[in-house]
Amino acid sequence: MTDSSLEEQFILAYTFLNNHPEINLSNEIKLQLYGYYKVVTIGKVNTAKPPLWDFRGRAKWDAWKEVENTPAEIAMQMYIETVEKTNIDWKRDQSDDDSSINTEDDDKEENKTNAKEGRTTYVSTMSYGEEEDSEVDDIFSYTKKGDITEISKILDSGNIDINAKDDQGLTLLHWASDRGHLTVIELLIDRGADVNILSEEKETPLHFSCISEHLDCARYLYHHGANSSIKDDEDLTAFDHCSVQFKEEVIKE
């Protein structure tokens, strides 16, 4: 078997699953597939472990971590075999021909309906398109995720302006203060980030922490030189954006 045919098969298996969202795989299988998929497309784990309460994110992360040392070729092989093994009527060397799966599909639907019988409704939540993690892995994306290891690595490499702004006019410290990553804030300030730097709308990092109600972050910023009298474009200070109680909690020693 040549590499290119393996790739093609992998892509076919991936495409097949994506074109048949009605196929109902167990979480275990889904996670396995996810792990191999990430190894094939990215390689080793490159994101921070999601927080405890994010059990979905965490399960996915764990699944990826578990197989991260698998060579891409093998991961593709495993992916393909896992798809075959689940008996969803996809086999390598068989194209995604809808007519060939229709009967099987109907059976699946029937089974699912039986399982859902008596459970005909569900709590609606906000709908989003299925988006994969953004492909860019720069210091801004690590900051948004709170990946302290990667951030320090890049900072250590030296050739980076810690007060640089992204296309939205925000610095790393703005993002960390918005997302509530206290350890990142500590690191950035330790490495000389300007604690009172302004966004395009003249907001300080403290504005972001106060609006987003990250108490620990706001406290840290306030007690490390943040100037709480700076007003943004709306002529409001950081504390004008939050409740009196929040402000008091921030200020107290």
């Binding site: 790739e7 992998f10 892509i11 991936y14 994506n18 969202p21 009605e22 109902n24 795989l25 167990s26 979480n27 275990e28 094939v40 497309t41 390689g43 309460w53 059990f55 979905r56 698998t70 060579p71 891409a72 070729e73 093998i74 593709m76 092989q77 075999e81 008996n87 109907d106 699946k108 639907e109 029937e110 089974n111 699912k112 399982a115 859902k116 019988e117 008596g118 459970r119 005909t120 409704t121 569900y122 709590v123 609606s124 939540t125 906000m126 989003y128 993690d133 953004s134 948004k144 939205q168 703005h174 993002w175 918005d178 997302r179 509530g180 907001e203 972001f208 609006i211 987003s212 109600e213």
Partner: protein, 485 residues
């Protein structure tokens, strides 16, 4: 996803087991091959070899990534079929139960409105309950009895609805259930339970309540079916069809041969399909609980600002509804409903008093009183139905309200739009003041006139409307007025 669904993925594979065995054999072979290969690569001799492998791997990853990207682009142009499997219709032959029931088929062309089968004469209606599997028995629940109400609450809380990933569950309160199930003229015999004979545990339920509706030009006194629930562990016993047949029988005994019901799933054959919309009032909590998601390139601060609301309402003359408003609200609501095709008809003031008048933590209603004439010009109402958050360390509950009935007196579309937007914005403000996290509605009535402007976002939930033993043309959700709980 629950365990049952796991099992079903592998069901129906009994036949063709020879093929399966062969496939399994082949898999084993392939797996062995792959492992051997892996061993070879990881044990790979010299350092140069290793570097070579690493470089090759990088190259491979790059190639695959490109291919996947191309795929993503193709998918973006041509989206995959049906994102949500539950919204797909099946042909009748695959609905083992529904194909035996008087409901229209999916592919049926409907020419004329009317019943599918004639009313059954009283002497031909079965007088004894349908037979349950032998370990179960029928009961009629007495909801005025606190302990029975609690049993129902527990059954529904643990087994009723879940979203696809089972992260949220409706958390009906006892007061809510009494509001939903004991309207004027309710019948105790329509609160149908199933107990395990041995330990008397309540394991299934279905309810009916009397209702008057108008569908197109036909006025009907019928039954609204709701809260069909079977204990998770018993879903394979096929109790749901027996429950449906039993509530149907009990309706027939009262001389009622039509029913209205709703479901998230597609059955034969919906009259209309509505979509849920959600308006964030507490975006941070909704994101923390994964009810909604923070886009990677948006700051939380911006999102919070986007959903921020004033702390005071702006419609002059807006106040809480009180009992003396009841007759006027009845007229106002029935008049407003006349422009839709599938609506409730409120025949008595008692019904309005029950369904619309504020009951704290269940339903809140507000009216607009013209300061000069003292006449009521508009009203709106929303009901409180929290969801429990499954397995979250900080947040136990999402406080949600759902838009219920409303009416405006304006007559031209533009004036209605302006009026509705003002009223619904005030509704959001009032809900926010009650510490509500999210304000929900369906795209029924004239809700599309304010959904976008007031920053509602589409949900992943749909609600299909059905009638039992009635055939009529379908309609857009903006022609539907019936709001079911």
């Amino acid at each position: 996803m629950d365990e049952q669904e796991h099992d079903h993925v592998f069901d129906g594979e009994g036949e063709g087991s020879t093929i399966d065995k062969m496939r399994a054999k082949q898999e084993k072979k392939n797996m062995k091959k792959a492992k051997k290969k892996a061993a070879k690569i990881s044990a790979g001799g010299s350092k140069a070899d290793l570097e070579d492998t690493a470089a090759k791997q990088k190259e491979l990853q790059e190639k695959v990534r490109m291919l996947v990207n191309q795929l993503a682009i193709r998918e973006a142009i041509q989206p995959p079929p049906s994102a949500s499997s539950s919204q797909k219709q099946k042909d009748m032959s695959s609905h083992k139960f529904w194909s035996t029931q008087p409901v229209p088929k999916h592919d049926e062309t409907i020419e004329e409105d009317g019943p599918i089968e004639p009313d059954t004469p009283y002497d031909q209606i079965r007088k004894e309950p349908y037979v349950l599997p032998k370990e179960f028995e029928w009961v009629t629940l007495e909801l005025n009895n606190e302990s029975e109400l609690n049993e129902l609450y527990t059954l529904l809380t643990n087994n009723y609805v879940e979203d696809d990933d089972a992260m949220f569950r409706f958390d009906y309160s006892g007061d809510f259930l009494k509001w939903a199930l004991q309207p004027p003229g309710y019948l105790k015999t329509w609160h149908v339970g199933v107990r395990v004979s041995a330990n008397k545990r309540l394991v299934a339920f279905v309810s009916g309540i009397p209702a008057d509706i108008r569908i197109y030009n036909s006025h009907q006194h019928l039954v609204e079916i709701n809260f069909l629930c079977v204990h998770k562990k018993l879903r394979s016993k096929r109790l749901a069809p027996v429950l449906i047949k039993e509530i149907t029988r009990r309706s027939h005994l009262q001389g009622i041969f039509q029913a209205v019901y709703t479901a998230g799933v597609v059955l034969p054959k919906p009259i209309s399909k509505a979509r849920y919309y959600h308006r964030s009032l507490n975006p941070k909590k909704l994101i923390d609980t994964n009810f909604s998601r923070l886009p990677p390139n948006t700051t939380l601060s911006r999102l919070i600002k986007k959903f921020k609301l004033p702390t005071e309402t702006s419609t002059p003359g807006l106040r809480s509804m009180v009992e003396k408003d009841v007759p006027e609200i009845r007229t106002l609501l029935n008049e407003y409903m006349s422009k839709f095709n599938f609506v409730p008809v409120f025949k008595t003031d008692d019904e309005i008093k029950h369904w619309i008048l504020t009951k704290d933590k269940v339903i809140w209603s507000f009216v607009v009183e013209d300061p000069e004439t003292k006449k009521l010009t508009d009203f709106f109402s929303f009901y409180y139905l929290p969801s429990s958050v499954i397995g979250h360390q900080v947040h136990k509950t999402i406080n949600a309200v759902y838009l219920f009935y409303y009416a405006v007196k304006e007559s031209d579309e533009k004036a209605i739009k302006g009026r509705l937007q003002g009223l619904m914005k005030d509704a959001l403000i009032l809900a926010k003041l009650k510490n509500v996290d999210v304000f929900n509605c369906l795209d029924l009535l004239e809700n599309k006139l304010f959904i976008d402007d007031l920053k509602f976002g589409p949900g992943d939930g749909f609600l299909n409307y059905y009638m039992y033993n009635w055939r009529c043309k379908g309609m857009g959700s903006d022609k539907v007025g019936v709001v079911m709980l």
